[in-house]
């Protein structure tokens, strides 16, 4: 008795992403919440600050990034929680496949479902904050790359808080200090884009963080999940 035809890592990743997308679309409410949160938070600022577009434009990068950070923290809680509860993570750990790779696939689909939509709707918020239409590509690009890096780093915290009762606040406490560089470079890229200045440099640095996160974070997340399963 043997395992039959073996499965390639790509097939494993495809199955995992496919499964997560299918699950998400069967329960769309969970999907929409972080995006709504993002839109609402960003549109609260004009009410708290001033309706003057020139002033709002100045704070827009900070507003967009802090709102994106908070909204992706909200979504992070769901990254592993369901899979931990129903035993899927155990099956991942015992599947004979690389747990690191499986968790990376999960993190990627998490970004597809929470981070990428954020970047896509960001122009709505940015527009409401007085950002010109021409700046939108830079805004979207920086948020897309930045939210990917955030998902990767957040996966570590999500793994570490698996064994913690009501670990939501703790998850934020663990993840926020790690996210400082992403916030700095992401907000800078957005700021330059809004000012119609070249924003390549901070965007590349942001991408460099995403790559660094890509190589290290899934390893740490896998170690964390193994500990969480004990």
């Amino acid at each position: 008795m043997t395992g039959g035809q073996s499965v390639s890592p790509w097939h494993v990743a495809r199955l995992t992403v496919e499964r997560d997308l299918r699950l998400a679309f069967r329960r769309p409410a969970q999907l929409v919440q972080p995006i709504l949160f993002f839109l609402i938070v960003t549109t609260l600022f004009p009410l708290a600050l001033s309706p003057e577009l020139s002033r709002l434009r100045d704070v827009a990068p900070g507003v967009l990034w802090v709102a994106a950070l908070l909204s992706s923290l909200l979504a992070l809680e769901f990254l592993f929680r369901d899979d931990a509860q129903d035993g899927t993570l155990e099956q991942f750990a015992l599947s004979g496949q690389s747990l690191t790779w499986l968790l990376f696939a999960k993190t990627f689909s998490h970004w597809l479902l929470t981070g990428l939509p954020l970047a896509v709707v960001a122009p709505i918020s940015a527009g409401a904050l007085g950002v010109d239409f021409g700046s939108m590509p830079g805004v979207v690009a920086s948020l897309a790359i930045g939210s990917f890096a955030l998902s990767l780093i957040g996966a570590i915290g999500a793994g570490l808080t698996l064994g913690v009762q009501r670990g939501g606040v703790l998850l934020s406490l663990l993840t926020l200090p790690l996210a400082v560089p992403i916030l700095i470079f992401g907000a800078r890229a957005t700021e330059l884009a809004i000012k119609s200045e070249p924003y390549g440099a901070p965007l590349y640095l942001l991408a460099a963080f995403a790559v660094l996160g890509l190589t290290l974070a899934p390893l740490a997340a896998a170690a964390a999940v193994r500990i969480g399963l004990e």
Partner: protein, 244 residues
């Protein structure tokens, strides 16, 4: 190669005894050096011609800032050893380090703010070093929060070890990105914290304070390590014999 020393370092009874022997040595040496450093720095050293007496806070600030980083690194290395070789004492040391490191970080922040008042006219300026120190404090908080959040000691050890390792990779990244961020927004007139024009009479007490604070950390860490071992090994038979 003979590895018995390594295994002995992993044995709680041995470490418990060793820590007990070493603590007074470190504590007394630290007390003497810090006393000398304080007198030398606060009384004997001449005032800085620009900052006047305000610069003297550096004798506490700089060693605290150094320790805040050094302790985080010690904690991460110790936790990594515990994770890789499954060494209980190593995890206990990491756990013992965290609150000490957090307090030195608070001390560095507090003295930095005290220094900021006469220099900048306000307690808080988003100086890159203070900002990086603040993020470091958050990292310590996260580490201790995670430890407190997991009930089982062994799982808490292993989970927080992963966090400490991730954090120690993050520290230099935070430092450089904060400096980069600050260089964009800073107006040139703001003075950097520390770095007065230093003369020998100022420098020697400062170096003594560095050594004294480091020894103080050793003494505190060993006391806490002993407490940590007591807590973890409360059911072990060697402990009953040692205390009998």
């Amino acid at each position: 190669m003979n590895w018995t020393w390594f295994h002995r370092l992993g044995s709680p009874p041995y470490i418990y005894k060793l820590a007990g022997t070493l603590t007074p040595w470190f504590a007394w040496a630290a007390a003497l050096l810090i006393a000398y450093g304080l007198v030398g720095g606060i009384v004997l050293a001449p005032p800085d011609y620009q900052q006047k007496d305000a610069f003297r806070i550096i004798y506490v600030h700089a060693p605290s800032a150094w320790l805040s980083l050094m302790i985080y690194t010690t904690m991460a290395v110790s936790a990594a050893i515990g994770l890789i070789w499954r060494m209980k004492v190593s995890h206990a040391l990491a756990a013992a380090c965290a609150p000490i490191g957090a307090w030195f970080t608070v001390a560095a922040l507090g003295t930095g703010m005290l220094w900021g008042k006469p220099m900048w006219g306000t307690y808080w300026v988003w100086d890159p070093r203070l900002t990086a120190e603040l993020v470091l404090l958050f990292l310590y908080m996260g580490y201790m929060g995670l430890r407190a959040g997991i009930e089982d000691t062994q799982r808490a050890d292993r989970a927080s070890a992963v966090l400490a390792i991730v954090g120690v990779i993050n520290v230099p990244i935070v430092k450089y990105s904060v400096e980069w961020w600050n260089s964009l927004h800073q107006s040139a007139s703001v003075m950097k914290l520390g770095k007065p024009d230093i003369v020998l009479e100022m420098l020697i007490p400062l170096l003594v304070m560095f050594v004294g604070f480091t020894l103080l950390f050793f003494a505190l860490a060993l006391v806490r390590l002993r407490a940590e071992i007591l807590r973890r090994e409360r059911a072990a038979s060697w402990l009953r014999e040692a205390l009998a």
